[in-house]
Symmetry: C2
Subunit: 408 residues, 2 copies
């Protein structure tokens, strides 16, 4: 249910007190073609991090600082405030958390999963913590701090709504793709599709939400039940049998209907229509601190997580060609164009341009948006197969993994 | 950390009031070869369920009743009581729950994922519930009822300890593999390995346990912290920085050490040594109702789940040959013999027997146990590669998916 999408290319510099030099691609909500955000690895976004540790303890890389590339999509709902703010700040929080984790002290690359010598445990029974899991922790905490900042400044800055956030960070040979919401990232490598995220919705997170509601029933405000039923139960059905499932179940079983079961289910609806407390269709993201159930005082934020799932792709493990790409898209893309169709468009458009033509990735992003939007016919916007085009906003990044825009 | 293993072949009949005729393979704990339980599909275990619904509403299959095949491993710890009881009763609970779900009313097979006509919603916005998810729900609830029965009868029947439970149910063309614990099931089909379960341990379930402890800190009895640290923290480190992760994190980040962080972590240790509250190494299973942290009054059961994860394998979607098998094994097998090695032994042993030799599956199970146990040498029980053999009990089922023992 996103209303506004705010992909952004940021180029934060933190050498000393220098602030971020941002060139945001803030897109028009709805059907505008502007919501196609071109690949930007051709003008790599570089973040210099001034090491916080003592210079003497730093590796040569640490002394020089290190850089990362960054792309992110912020798909807003119920107002654009959270999406705009997150698009301007999330990368700064990542910088800050990376500094706090002293990532510059870690080796540039790990040796095929082996624990680098400076990460070896020094104590008996100490768990080895890899550089990769420090980066993941830094990104996770950056999302948390971003969400806290929105919470703190929402009154003074009039920040409205919430947003899904999908961010890709390229650091020391690896892509870290962090997703909180229903956007999606895939890698297309040699025609093969590699999923780089999963969606967080009332259906995919049902058990987490039911578990919380079971342990904290007061969050349901006496209006909702944590149990799921296949449909609303009518009062006249009291005492009859009804299918249900709780926080422990993936299957369905029967129970005798009790008074409490007449309440509205915490999770209700299917697919894109599934909602938490009849209100929101995504279960992770930033913002939404003031979101309440319509005409009630029941807060929804306790059920929403601001934490992303971070997946890692090691770019050094494979020789990439110029046609290998990472695609980030909001649900406006994926609702009507599936992974295979996206891969097919990528292949089709890229082969129609020279491998060293720098605009070819932009053209893929544009084509994906145009195709998913459809063509205006008598019966609304239609796809080539006559299905309805996406009525949602559509934002796409197409990021080359090899070729002339390679990462160095 | 299982001490005793109780695999069992059961042949329950419930035509009218007739009780289960069980021929249990209760095995000797430790290194005995008896812990190899042979395949039993050659003498299929059949469960007749008298339909509970009105005969007039039943399909021809329903009117006749229907049968299922059943195999299960119960790997006990801290006493054999729970494992023995579960091995004698779990199938009866499955029968009962299947009856309550009126599974006999459902069609014999579903058409490649299409919702069968009699499962179509009758109400506006009603969610379609498939026959498969009713079976899953019945098995999930059977585990819950089994656990409740152990709880209720543990005093009068002197039932000690707990057990991991891995059960395979073959019903109407599909295998349902239900796992609660650290046993494992794989299918080997045409040499390919298909995982049919995952293990539930303090490491794989860390976030669920931390989430519970975070919401219900009183369960930690003021002795434990829900945070994980790479090692124990010393009092002199108060105020310093330490890596941690909480219920929301997969990565690691730094925090300033506070008084509360000096408590023992809820989850501590790595791999087979990981423990919940320094006590137990599995996080799902049956029993353990009286399990407490050593020398304290802190109960561990609230952190343990009796619910299995159920995976489904549709036997009708593939033409199986006599060498295709489902292997169930306790952790005593998998700790020293990985999936690929098991597949290799299966292939090796099966090809040395005629396809219609009915003892060939038994010989595979026996060979897997013998190899995982190792040979007694000067420096203990050793595998061919000189690694230590399994010191745990080892139980294996090898169940043919095709050939002369085929399911009809």
């Amino acid at each position: 249910m996103p209303f506004v999408s705010h992909p952004r290319r940021s180029c934060p510099r933190r050498a000393g007190t220098r602030e971020a030099e941002a060139e945001p691609y803030v897109c028009v909500p709805g059907r505008s073609l502007c919501s196609s955000s071109p690949s930007c690895s051709l003008l790599p976004t570089v973040c210099f991090l001034t090491a916080l540790a003592e210079p003497s303890s730093l590796s040569p890389q640490g002394r020089k600082g290190f850089y990362f590339h960054y792309w992110a999509l912020f798909d807003g709902h119920a107002g654009s405030g959270a999406a705009v703010m997150a698009s301007r700040r999330l990368h700064l929080h990542i910088c800050e958390q990376a500094g706090a984790a002293e990532l510059s002290r870690a080796p540039v690359t790990e040796d095929n999963g082996e624990v680098p010598s400076d990460a070896l445990p020094r104590f008996h029974l100490e768990k080895a913590v890899s550089h990769e899991s420090l980066v993941i922790g830094a990104i996770e905490n950056a999302f948390k701090h971003m969400d806290n900042q929105i919470a703190q400044e929402r009154a003074s800055q009039s920040i409205s709504g919430g947003c899904c956030a999908l961010a890709a960070v390229y650091l020391m040979g690896k892509f870290y793709v962090a997703n909180a919401g229903d956007s999606r990232a895939i890698i297309i490598r040699n025609g093969e599709i590699i999923p780089m995220s999963r969606e967080f919705t009332p259906e995919t997170e049902r058990q987490r939400l039911q578990f919380l509601a079971f342990l904290r029933p007061e969050l349901l405000g006496k209006e909702f039940t944590h149990l799921e039923f296949p449909r609303r139960i009518q009062p006249k059905e009291l005492g009859k049998k009804m299918l249900y499932r709780d926080q422990n179940m993936n299957g369905w079983a029967y129970k005798k209907i009790e008074e409490d079961d007449l309440k509205f289910p915490l999770i209700y609806g299917e697919g894109k229509k599934a909602r938490v407390m009849a209100t929101i269709g995504v279960t992770r993201g930033l913002g939404d601190h003031d979101l309440k159930v319509f005409s009630s005082n029941i807060h929804i934020k306790p059920f929403l997580s601001c934490f992303p799932e971070v997946r890692v792709y090691d770019l050094t493990q494979y020789e990439h060609c110029p046609d290998d790409v990472l695609v980030l898209g909001t649900d406006g893309l994926w609702d009507v164009t599936n992974d295979e169709e996206v891969a097919s468009v990528v292949m089709e458009v890229l082969t129609s341009y020279e491998p060293n033509d720098l605009c070819r990735y932009t053209m893929v992003a544009q084509e994906l948006v145009v195709r998913s939007r459809g063509v205006l016919k008598e019966r609304g916007w239609r796809l080539p197969n006559d299905r309805l085009g996406s009525g949602d906003d559509i934002s796409v990044f197409v990021i080359p993994l090899g070729g002339p825009g390679n990462y160095t």
